[in-house]
Subunit: 184 residues, 4 copies
């Protein structure tokens, strides 16, 4: 099994990147391949329905290619304005132009980290919809991490024991979900 | 009163642009100022939280400036992947970095045109959320126009009488809503 | 101006009822009429589309009547299963059978209180939709109160100063919104 | 494998019941057990958080029992006021009080039939959320059937060939999804 993992943030010290790294470490420890991507690797022009007629940018193709090599995609996304970043939807919009659909039948796991109390839960809820439109199986449980300033300990792990356990058991459940749905 | 009106599409023959033009004509006929924008005027780089620390692109500033001169914003948006375009959210994400918030207290009216039966209703429903996060008053009724191939007559008006009346009365109700909430 | 205020909970010591009472007190202090309802006053049978053909239960009519006497409705609702209570939607479903629509043009303000961190924000977000279907103007800002065990002080006020101020200023903004949209 | 199938309507001639029957026939033809329920079998009192402390009504227990015997649940629901019926959420609210959760790990398939063009798509979209809160795996594709007056032929089948094929292939995909996730 192989998972593509990335955070939808350009900041090296981003808490979403930290959370994505944490997920990657747990996945790798179970002998599952991880393709960890930096968000800047997916920088592509704004979707333009006029230009889209003559093709899809190379970077969108490269994103689709990496996604097609994986069985599932783990996205750790900040919440902007009560929804997920436009840049993330922009990737989805370009990718959806490729025929056949490279993402159909893959699974997805959604996480989010925010300084406030709600952990980006509304954004995660909205993000499910376009991913399901692309025929991904989105894992029903999401992980909204709030109060990020206190959330991590010195070893970059989740400091709260209950939260840490719920994070790891969600990852395990997601791996099983992916194994059942698309990987032998 | 003044309204900023645009379609979230780059294609000159876009049905969303056609619908936006129709709305603009009705508004102008009531002696209300209209600032009709082409979507390409708002082409801006993808939002990047690292770069955002050092400022906001000129075009995002210009969008915010034009919005700030209006009492309300009328958006006619295609639906991609069961949601609104990433490019539209990208504009919102950049604009939200400007302090003070240039859009607070404005109203918004949302319309959508799609070739299929549903007229983009899910995308419109999702689009409300980030606009409300920016403190706009989004008009509760939306206009999802389906089956666009048959929707317009030779004069570029809506061919179905019932649909035309419902479109115009929605515009009138929205104008009254804007007058009450933010314009004398 | 007059507001109908209630909590969607049957428990006398409910934190949602407490929050509704707090809102009512602030509204009354500004010389605005308040009709404070207990949720049990709106106990009505489950909506049944077969029975609905021959009429609407008396209690649904009484709810609609009280709502029709008000300019706005303030609802304080618990969140069950990541959405608002079925009982609340049941009231909306019966009320929507009455012609003409008794709620059209009223405003609504939505609040929620939950023991967890998220304060019922997903439920509030979902609740907007059927209320807008009934042609209410739902105030864009909502009030999700989390960690309810620590939220109230001995005088039944919100203990956190910042939260208290944001609660009161939201109420004031909502009153102004209602005044502009439907009350002289 | 076994599926619980029902329509959220009390009317014997309901188009949602017709669609549920159509799904049941296709499932049975593949040697899969079907428990077809009438909605009136799930008539239960309105959820009341005060009463819920002392227990859950027998009918809610009976619903949970029947659901627990199935691997998946197929719901065909009308749309009221841009959302699913309160009565359906009421069943979910009562069921969620039972510990352990009888629905965890089951799958769900959502369909809707409406006289208008949109086929209840917004209601279906909202219905996913509380079902996922109950730990069901909701199949990402939904089936919103619009224009129900013309939708069925004399044999109670879907008259449009393309629609019929898309309905059947969705059912087949859902059966495979259920087989992979919870049934051997």
């Amino acid at each position: 099994m192989k998972l593509l993992i990335f955070a939808a943030s350009h900041r090296p010290e981003s808490v979403n990147r930290k959370l994505a790294k944490l997920a990657a470490a747990h996945v790798v420890a179970q002998n599952i391949d991880v393709d960890f991507a930096e968000y800047s690797e997916f920088d592509m022009p704004i979707y333009n329905d006029e230009i889209a007629r003559s093709g899809v940018p190379d970077i969108a193709q490269s994103f689709a290619h990496r996604a097609s090599k994986a069985d599932g995609i783990v996205i750790c996304s900040p919440e902007y304005n009560w929804s997920y970043p436009g840049s993330l939807k922009n990737i989805i919009d370009w990718t959806s132009r490729l025929k056949p659909n490279r993402l159909a039948g893959k699974t997805a796991l959604l996480m989010s980290a925010t300084p406030g109390s709600r952990g980006g839960i509304i954004g995660l809820n909205h993000l499910k919809t376009p991913l399901e439109a692309l025929q991904l199986f989105v894992f029903p449980k999401v992980f909204p991490l709030g109060y990020t300033e206190q959330a991590f300990d010195a070893e970059h792990c989740l400091s709260d024991k209950k939260q840490r356990e719920s994070f790891l058991s969600m990852l395990d459940d997601y791996i099983l979900f992916t194994r059942k749905l698309c990987a032998p």
